[in-house]
Amino acid sequence: MLRAIQYVLLLGVLVANVLPLAWIFATAFKPDTEIARYPPTILPHAPTLANFRNLFTISDFGAYLGNSLIVSGVTTGATVLFGMFGAYSVSRFYFPLTRGLGEFALFAYLIPPILVVVPIAQIVIRLHLADNLAALIVIYTAILLPFALWVLRSYFRGLTVDIEQAAMVDGCTRLGAFLRVVVPQATPGLISTGLFTFNAAWSEYLFASVLLPSPDKRTLSPGLVLLMNQTGVYSWGLLMAGAVIVVLPVLVLFVIAQRSLIRGWGAGALAG
């Protein structure tokens, strides 16, 4: 009896989790006339790619996609690189600056973006860097760096220093030992940090909406908002096609790296 209840609950939870995603995909391939039909069809009766074609022809969606790829890609690279350097220092050296960085990273991780967006936007606008993707990349890197420092620091601390020391004894410089010995060992941690960073930059809306006012400079999230407002009576097929394209890379990364992601995020939230 208990088992039966548990299975019913589990099924309910799974449906609630998966149904919205399934609905995005089902709708994206339906023609507009079918979306408006009552009662609604579950799977598309006449599957079509028209929504995707329209998305790229009547809107700047291609530009949004390109901007988002550039911003998220470069942000991920920079965050992982600087995070790796900083976290290694914090976990191996005990100078005032490194210790300060280690402690401050935990605090900075908690800073809500909404509390810093106004001053940051003022700087960006006064320096005439609005619509500049590079400015957004620098800001994203700064915002996402504390998490990277936090996760990678605990990762580096977990690695044994023996091999590193052996390499230095054998004539490696410390930097050489770091790059040749520590970094390869830390690759799983670097990958999960990178995926988290990519997902966060890919999804971000607040800074992108404030700092990229011109329509063709937008990233995906503010781009889709623009599309939502332009279509008036919402053209759900078009918007769901956009949602499919935004969520697809996330899904692929998630499926590939699920295990290490869960481990890394759990660690990031709670482990030292």
């Binding site: 609604p40 936007a121 997902n199 404030v210 949602a243």
Partner: protein, 306 residues
């Protein structure tokens, strides 16, 4: 080649000294954090005392006038009220359903591995995608939810979930819980997987039933991590902008305008940088209190683990 036995530190002549290297490796991260975390707080604190021209940055000193405005404006007070309801309701629902789902996923059911993977999925879906699909599903004309509710005679007429000031905040809370409950599930599930079995055996010998062993063994075991997870979620939920804004844009009639949305409207809609900064400063004080409790709970849970 110089061999120095067990020495950790390489001789100075080989490569950079540790001090230089530490400086070099730390500097980029330190500069970024100083510029984008420390400076903005200082700038916001200063701006809150001035009337600031949005484009030129020209300032007129006002003293505490912005704070008085923020604390007396009925709209902003209402936003604080909504933020309170939003935060408390979200965290309570996420904590209880999160623990429930984690227990369910730890109950050795068939298909557990697949279920664990699928349950975490909403957490990684971008806010814009979540917002779009729920706007569509909660739509009063073409929405799936209304179709199901009307079809099963739960309601007689479709509900305008996101367009009615009375229902909008609750709808946003439901969607937010859909997206963020997995965070609690991840954290609690990880903890449940390492419960020492002896604890349950001991409880069973003492004659504890399922409910008693939950209260005496499971709950105390997950409590430290649950507490920290809840505090994190409290902070992130209280200052969350993207998802609630993208679902309802603060409307209709301001009924979903929480403090973060009010800050953005003040700064970029009405271009009142000073007032927006004062509101952010008030919110930051509340955050500092939250962070204090977070750090304390974090240290305590760490001590307990050791």
């Amino acid at each position: 080649m110089i061999r120095s036995g067990t020495a950790v530190r390489p001789p100075i002549s080989r490569g950079l000294s540790d001090r230089r290297l530490a400086l070099l490796l730390t500097l980029p991260a330190a500069i970024l954090l100083l510029t984008f975390a420390v400076y903005p707080f200082a700038a916001a604190a200063a701006d809150s005392l001035f009337r600031v021209d949005f484009l030129s940055g020209a300032r007129t000193f006002l003293g505490l006038e912005n704070y008085l405005l923020v604390l007396s404006d009925p709209e902003i007070r209402a936003a604080f009220g909504r933020s309170f309801v939003w935060t408390v309701t979200n965290v309570v629902i996420q904590a209880t359903t999160g623990v429930g789902i984690a227990l369910l996923l730890n109950a050795q059911l068939f298909g557990q591995t697949l279920a664990r993977g699928l349950v975490l999925f909403p957490y990684v879906v971008p806010a814009i995608v979540t917002a779009l699909v729920f706007q569509f599903m909660f739509n009063d004309v073409t929405g799936l939810v209304n179709y199901l509710l009307v079809d099963t005679h739960v309601v007689r007429a479709p509900i305008s979930f996101l367009a009615d000031p009375k229902t909008v905040l609750w709808t946003l809370i439901a969607v937010n819980c859909w997206k963020y409950t997995p965070f609690i599930v991840i954290v609690v599930l990880a903890r449940l997987q390492v419960v020492p079995v002896e604890l349950y055996d001991a409880a069973a010998i003492d004659g504890a039933g399922a409910w008693a062993s939950f209260c005496q063994v499971t709950l105390p075991w997950i409590m430290p991590v649950l507490l920290v997870a809840c505090l994190l979620r409290t902070i992130w939920t209280a200052y969350e902008f993207d998802l609630p804004y993208l679902l309802a844009f603060g409307g209709p009639l301001g009924a979903s305008t929480t403090v973060p949305i009010e800050i953005r409207t003040l700064a970029f809609g009405r271009q009142e940088i000073g007032a927006a900064s004062a509101l952010a400063a008030c919110a930051a004080i509340l955050l500092a209190a939250g962070a204090y409790f977070y750090l304390r709970a974090y240290r305590r849970s760490e001590e307990r683990v050791e």
